[in-house]
């Protein structure tokens, strides 16, 4: 939920207009919007490269993982899922909140991957590799804005 929606919701609970403080916070959020869009656009433009590099690093570190057994389906699913998580991260960046990651990518994840017999520890490492190759592309300031969303996913797998 964006700060806009959450402020409106709390104002509505009290049947009042938004306070000056709330509006100032929202105005800041609007102002940061273009910058968040910029970060998301960079991620979108480099998705393939990020996923490729992330996968390579992951397989180097964890050679004994289902996606590295030579099974093309496992391999493709692993890379597809990385792309999906990256997409959820771009949503979260634009929104300024982890809700899209949580709703689509965290709830039920453990149960799903466990039933697919994919070790969660490996998944967490895979996301860590994705985080590393992504943040290496950005300046320190931009990387600091993006990293927490990766951490959120990694935490969700542990």
């Amino acid at each position: 939920m964006s700060i806009i929606t959450s402020s409106i919701k709390s104002a509505d609970r009290e049947a009042r207009y938004l306070s000056l403080g709330e509006l100032k916070a929202i105005a800041n959020f609007y102002q940061g919007g273009q910058d968040r869009l910029r970060l998301a656009q960079i991620l979108v433009a480099n998705e393939t490269e990020i996923v490729n590099k992330g996968s390579q690093r992951f397989w180097q570190r964890y050679p004994n993982t289902p996606s590295n057994t030579g099974n093309p389906t496992f391999r493709a699913s692993c890379m597809r899922d990385q792309g999906w998580y990256l997409r959820l991260i771009t949503y979260a960046i634009v929104l300024g909140d982890t809700e899209p990651i949580e709703q689509t990518g965290i709830k039920g994840t453990k149960e799903m991957y466990e039933s697919l017999e994919i070790p969660l520890k490996n998944l967490a490492e895979c996301m860590r590799c994705l985080k590393e190759v992504t943040t290496e592309m950005f300046s320190l300031k931009d990387a600091a804005a993006i990293a927490p969303y990766f951490d959120y996913i990694i935490q969700g797998f542990l």
């Binding site: 964006s2 509505d12 207009y17 105005a27 609007y30 102002q31 919007g33 869009l37 997409r87 949503y91």
Partner: protein, 161 residues
Amino acid sequence: MQDLITSTINTFDVRAQYPDSDAMNRLENYFKSGDLRAKASLAISANAKSIITKAVAKSLMYTDITAPGGNMYTCRRYAACIRDLEYFLRYATYAMLAGDPSILEERVLNGLRETYNSLGVPIGGTVRAVQAMKEVTADLVGTEAGKEMGVYFDYICSGLS
């Protein structure tokens, strides 16, 4: 409820896609218009009472509705009408900030027409009052923000009729 950002994300997430360039442009314009929206909200909240007073004077006062036998006759009914107009204005302001009408649908319009019909509240008069609010609000906040508020006032009207 949603805002423009969440509604864009929800639309594209079910297709597992990145927002297309149209959607990106809409988001960008939305962020750019943020100052305008925040200022308009502030102006409306500071003048909410007078917006309603002026809108009622423009649309309902001295018509059959306020005369004996009309639906705003008796103070109690008049007060109920004012209260509803206050709701419309507040929720339209929320929707304008969010850039999305879903909160109007959820909190205002859901079942409203049926309620009004069963209470004998005239839809025509209500729509007239909301349109008057639209004009009064535009005078207050300026053309650009007025146009944006107008979208949500019109949304209420089309949801009622």
